[in-house]
Subunit: 415 residues, 2 copies
């Protein structure tokens, strides 16, 4: 099966908005084993939109149309699609009621325009919108399918997951099961290298990697007649990947981020922690505070940007700074030890490094970062060399610090 | 003039990469007064790529081709484009030398494949790549122009700015001048509302708004025969916008972010500052540390997540917390005052709020944030109500805190 993605909207043509929806839909199609050969973007112009849809229907089985379902006169995706298929628009009672309920919920009055959103093409499958007023629509004509989705990602994504994924999965006629493994402390090229045989050696399941700063996600996707068969296909690959990356896999849950995994371990072991940051300047604490309920284990953190602050706030020795400099193994160690002591925490994690763009030397180049973790008095220090912009180096340091916290807990408690 | 953007790459079709290049090119075209009616994405497949380019050339004057200029066999953008225009590929001595120099610079050996990148279509204008090995290419045939650019944004953007923008500006036959005004503390809808007459009332200059968390950028762009004429066209609009938003305009320099503007004021007035954060948990300090050289005015910061930390680290009174709660005007005030005192700084900025998703009450709903700024003993407190996810609320609070710092300095020094 071949699908094509058309995104509709002037804001995309003007570059005001980055097309994250297309990437999302493309990734979902890959999961479903549906090929995507083309994506396009077109404005809210009936003639050009109709031409684009016609072209897409000529070369693909399923065409996604994202955006242009709003209540204003500019929005004409639904009208154009219905006209192409020769389907009349009729008012849908169920949708009208949902729109009324939606506006009551958000405490606003629906305008005359909004009722236009209750008009749907005859025979269309209606996808309820839990987060907005425009319903999604699936229209079928012969062998061709048009899937109309709202533009805002927070409306589109839940609608896709709830209604479109099962529809397509059914249409593909196969059960599709996928599993993610999120890996920290290993670069994307090394992950790819280590999985080369698996990535290239097999078509079902497929194995794909996605990188972001400091971590890599591996997705294993299998298709089979039944869900249990697909699961069976995945199993040996997941086991093999777990074997190859071991402890560096921090979760197999799509929703869990690295800070969530670390926070879960801290809570599980009932460990309070503190942070003491130089070059990251608060970003590490800031990222851990992303986790709701972190207050159970996190009480306070320090940003010790100057040498004096390192001495005053967490008791780094003057001699240490003089002899080794602020960016050194010994300073990182004393920062972590001192912070744990002063904050009265089980664990303290320290970051000190050279984020650049200036301040580097041949011995201590930009990107050199020391990370220390003190867990009940035992301190582990890691020396890292990161690359890229000031921002990139600082983000990499945060990820590496989270990974070190995780390692120290796993080691200490033999988890 | 009409342009069209074609992005080439399997990683886009699989959803591994979000197409930020298309947004960038579209925005630049808007600046140049060039219309974009279509964008597309196609894979590294000669037949489909050729069909897509042919279609684009049929309906647009200028076609951008981004990606597929790499050294591997998969990369065939250049070959396909040259074939369509009937231009032969010939080795370019200048490019060959640049490739050799590039590999020497990064300390790697060029592979046999890399020399393929020195082949260029006859008559093509060559755009040197300062950040990679693939040159960009401008090919002209009759009234049509193909512009081939490398895929990685860090190679593409400087090349566009250095070579393509002047080329297109010349082609448009007009001087294009644009000016940005970055506004904080005013929402996008209010900015649009207040500029409605200007946005809709004129075609040259054009006025466009772009929003991100906590701020809005307004861009005024004029086209004229000469640069000085274009500047003259812009002037009254810029003056008018400055008049309407006054002090909320924090810069007219595209490269300057809100934290840069605040840091510049701090340095200019020689004011040291500290941060004391609850719900933002370090993000405010982390954002200010984005600014290289901030160490001149920033020495240390506090993350006081628990009530006890607010008391211990910055001396908030127990009674204040008991009587008013951690999220209150009075607590924010004492946090700022105490932090300034303990850190021995001229200025301290405090943030305390409810980031959610839990912890809200009817009196103190999720999104309620108090921000306080103490400047040489004088404390200003702002009560804010933000909306959205935990992450969004925290980012909004950081922007609001930066804006408050800025206001306090401007007021105090009558700037």
């Amino acid at each position: 099966m071949v699908a094509e993605i058309i995104s509709v909207g002037t804001e995309l043509l003007l570059g005001n908005t980055v097309n994250t929806n297309a990437a999302y839909l493309a990734e979902q199609c890959a999961r479903l084993g549906i090929c995507v050969y083309y994506q396009s973007v077109v404005g809210d112009n009936e003639e050009r939109l109709a031409a684009t849809i016609r072209l897409a229907l000529g070369r693909s089985d399923v065409v996604f149309l994202g955006g242009g379902l709003g209540p204003t006169e500019d929005d004409l995706t639904k009208e154009t699609a219905a006209k192409l298929f020769g389907h009349a628009l009729v008012e849908d009672e169920h949708t009208r009621k949902r729109i009324a309920a939606y506006f009551e919920r958000i405490g606003r009055e629906a305008t005359e325009n909004n009722w236009k959103q209750a008009l749907v093409p005859e025979q269309a499958i209606i996808l309820d919108n839990e987060n907005g007023s425009a319903p999604g629509l699936i229209m079928e004509e012969g062998e061709k399918t048009l899937i109309l989705l709202p533009g805002p990602p927070m409306e589109m994504i839940p609608m896709f997951q709830g209604g479109v994924f099962p529809y397509l999965s059914d249409k593909v006629g196969e059960a599709i099961v996928s599993k993610v493994l999120k890996i920290c402390q290993v670069g994307e090229s090394r992950v790819e290298q280590e999985l080369k045989d698996l990535i290239h050696g097999c078509e079902n399941p497929t194995i794909a990697t996605y990188a972001k700063t400091g971590e890599v996600t591996v997705r294993v996707t299998a298709r089979a007649k039944t869900e249990s068969e697909a699961k069976k296909l995945i199993k040996p690959y997941v086991r093999q990947i777990k074997f190859r990356f071991g402890r560096n896999i921090y979760t197999t849950d799509e929703q869990v981020e690295l800070e969530d995994a670390v926070a879960a371990l801290l809570k599980q072991q009932n460990l309070t922690f503190t942070t003491v940051e130089s070059c990251t300047g608060g970003l590490l604490a800031g990222r851990l505070v992303n986790v709701p309920g972190i207050s159970g284990v996190f009480k306070q953190g320090y940003v010790t940007y100057s040498n004096k602050a390192k001495r005053r706030l967490v008791g780094v020795k003057k001699d240490t700074l003089t002899a080794n400099g602020a960016v050194s193994e010994k300073t990182a160690r004393e920062m972590a030890k001192g912070a744990a002591l002063r904050a009265g925490c089980d664990m303290a994690v320290a970051v000190t490094g050279i984020a650049g763009p200036d301040g580097g030397t041949p011995e201590k180049p930009v990107g050199l970062v020391y990370i220390a973790c003190s867990l009940r008095g035992k301190v582990t220090v890691r020396k890292c060399q990161f690359f890229g912009s000031r921002r990139k180096i600082r983000e990499s340091a945060v990820s590496a610090a989270l990974a070190l916290m995780r390692d120290c807990i796993l080691e200490n408690f033999e988890l």
